[in-house]
């Protein structure tokens, strides 16, 4: 039984990691229907900026949670800046282009950013300091769950709730929904569509950066390639949950994380990804728009 619980917790942690990245994916997709392949790279850049900030701060003599908070803030600021810049350069000129063009542009951007970090920094794996402190109250269950896992799961939960509220009740959120539904109409009612899209990229990239710092701190190492696999998995999670839906992204990520964990635990980790993708195919056969995605009624 405890084996089951341990696998469950492991799956939830993994799911939360995917979810933090998938949220950004799903928001960008929801608003401009673009699979932002460069999103994984933004996550990686966030993690790198966090590492650089943390190291410099530590050497300046700072200690404890202050380093974590400042590193997160800097990572978020920079990742947001990168997100917006990428959007301005590679996606904005393509608003009216054929549907696949921005996708290729995104793949190009992803390759560019990866190699940019490779050249500007290093090809080696860098150790990432564990910034998350060990919580004393977790000591009795430390064999089950560590503080890193707790922080990641909580952050994901908070991020999901905050995002849902933001999209539902704030002015920006309303503008986002309007833009997602109909760009031209949104423009007609006085919404600055470009600014709304920029805001979406800021939010999505910030979440990715936050995830980047927390996950890197949990895992303990980064290199320029970590964004790729994380990006693919997060994208899978977002589609699984119904791309464009915020709770869907989290649900999809959890399902994916749990599937992988249980597949490894009870079958074989050799075929972990095979199970994950097979499940995806199965779910999409029965629910072609994902778990929480709405099937659009088709007008003829």
């Amino acid at each position: 039984m405890s084996y089951f619980i341990e696998l469950l917790l492991g799956g939830l942690t993994r799911g939360s990691i995917y979810a933090l990245i998938a949220l950004g994916y799903t928001m960008v997709y929801g608003i401009i229907e673009l699979i932002n392949f460069a999103h994984g790279e933004i996550y990686m850049i966030g993690a790198f900026t966090g590492l650089i900030a943390a190291s410099v701060l530590t050497m300046m003599g700072l200690e404890g949670p202050a380093v974590l908070v400042l590193a997160c803030v800097l990572a978020v600021v920079y990742a947001a800046a990168y997100g917006v810049t990428v959007e301005k350069i590679a996606y904005q000129p393509l608003r009216k282009a054929p549907r696949l063009s921005p996708l290729i542009s995104a793949i190009g951007m992803s390759i560019f950013l990866q190699n940019y970090v490779l050249l500007a920094q290093t090809s080696d794996f860098l150790p990432f300091p564990s910034l998350i402190p060990e919580f004393a109250f977790l000591a009795p269950v430390s064999h089950l769950i560590g503080s890193g896992e707790v922080v990641i799961i909580l952050t994901t939960a908070v991020a999901m709730v905050a995002l849902t509220l933001l999209v539902k009740y704030t002015k920006v959120g309303k503008a986002m929904r309007a833009t997602a539904q109909d760009k031209t109409m949104a423009m007609l009612v006085g919404i600055n569509v470009n600014r709304v899209i920029s805001a979406t990229f800021v939010i999505g990239s910030s979440l990715a950066a936050l995830g980047g710092v927390l996950i890197a701190s949990h895992v303990g190492q980064i290199n320029f390639f970590i964004g790729f696999i994380a990006g693919i998995k997060a994208f899978t999670a977002a589609v699984l949950g119904g791309i464009g839906s915020i709770p869907g992204a989290v649900l999809g990520a959890m399902v994916l994380g749990l599937t992988e964990s249980f597949a490894t635990g009870y079958v074989s980790s050799d075929y972990e990804d095979v199970f994950a993708f097979a499940l995806l195919v199965l779910i999409l056969i029965f629910r072609p728009a994902g778990l929480l995605g709405r099937t659009k009624a088709q007008k003829v």
């Binding site: 699979i35 190009g108 390759i111 300091p129 999409l284 003829v300």
Partner: protein, 397 residues
Amino acid sequence: MRELKQSTLAALWFMFLTFPLMVIRVNTVEETVEWRWGNLIAVGVGAFFLSAVWRAAHARQKRGARVGGDLAERLWESVADPRFRWASLAVAGIIALGFPLVFSAYQVSIMTTALIYVVLGLGLNIVVGLAGLLDLGYVAFYAVGAYSYALLSHHFALGFWTLLPVAMGLAALFGVLLGFPVLRLRGDYLAIVTLGFGEIIRLILENWNEFSFGPSGIANIPRPGFFGIDLTLAQATTYLYYLMIALVLGTIFVVNRLQDSRLGRSWVALREDEIACQAMGIDRAKTKLAAFALGATWAGMVGVIFAAKTTFINPASFTFMESALILSIVVLGGMGSILGVILAALVLILLPEYLREAQEYRMILFGATLVLMMVFRPQGLIANARRRYRAPAKDGA
């Protein structure tokens, strides 16, 4: 003045943006920090001028002049023009045939690789360009072809020419296998499932040692025979090159005929509007499956060539990036355009090879090229002209 201000702003922005990554380098192992201020100045100056170029290019594009449009368009016009079609074809033919006589084995070898991608591009073009089904796992069929040849020749010592059609058939079969579950899916849902399919095939090849020899791959795959004569490496390279030329011509011929066929028309109709298509009595399932199967066939065919050319394959050659590359060829070329796909394949495969001089900068240049091409020519190198029905002009209307 305004230009100056904008350029300065851009320079400042990029200096800010690249500051942590370009200037600071921390060594967490040694716990030292390296400050590289020189990079900051370089970024500033670079951004200053590039942003001016960027804006100028955009302004030009807005004025209606398509950047780089003239060349491709006129090239296309001159090729399309029946009077010059034969002349240009002859020039292309002479270059193609004379290539191995002039260039070294290395050049011939990378050209063969480029030709392999031409066929892959043309094959994927059927699925993505014509039928509008976004396939991110196309490389799976390429793998099926390569492994069919490698495994069957290893176990049963069958020859290249026997296995070529077998591999094509197997790839087509896998195309149908993939096609069935995804019939109902559209757009990006289809994309992720095809991506998953590609990964599943690769993972199986990686894990199932008894079947595929796992990650260590299969070595010593025979090169294609030439009437039983033993060829040296250089001769075999040249032979494969001419073989590829023939296959490319065959592919172009078939794809071209397909486009104009009943099936080709129904693919395009399906791409434009599924429901109207059904109402017109087109069997949606059959048409989609045909697209997957026919697209996969070509990948299977060149998969065999690929295995025969490298004489060694392992699953590492069939990753998602490969699918992305083939898709880039299709989109960059201009979806649905045959000439475009050929040009794009040559550019995208040969570019990194010739950029070797640039060493570590070549992949970053490749990424930048993809973005710039899309930004300035989103419709691809050669936009596929929609077939228009022109009503005969009525006199005295």
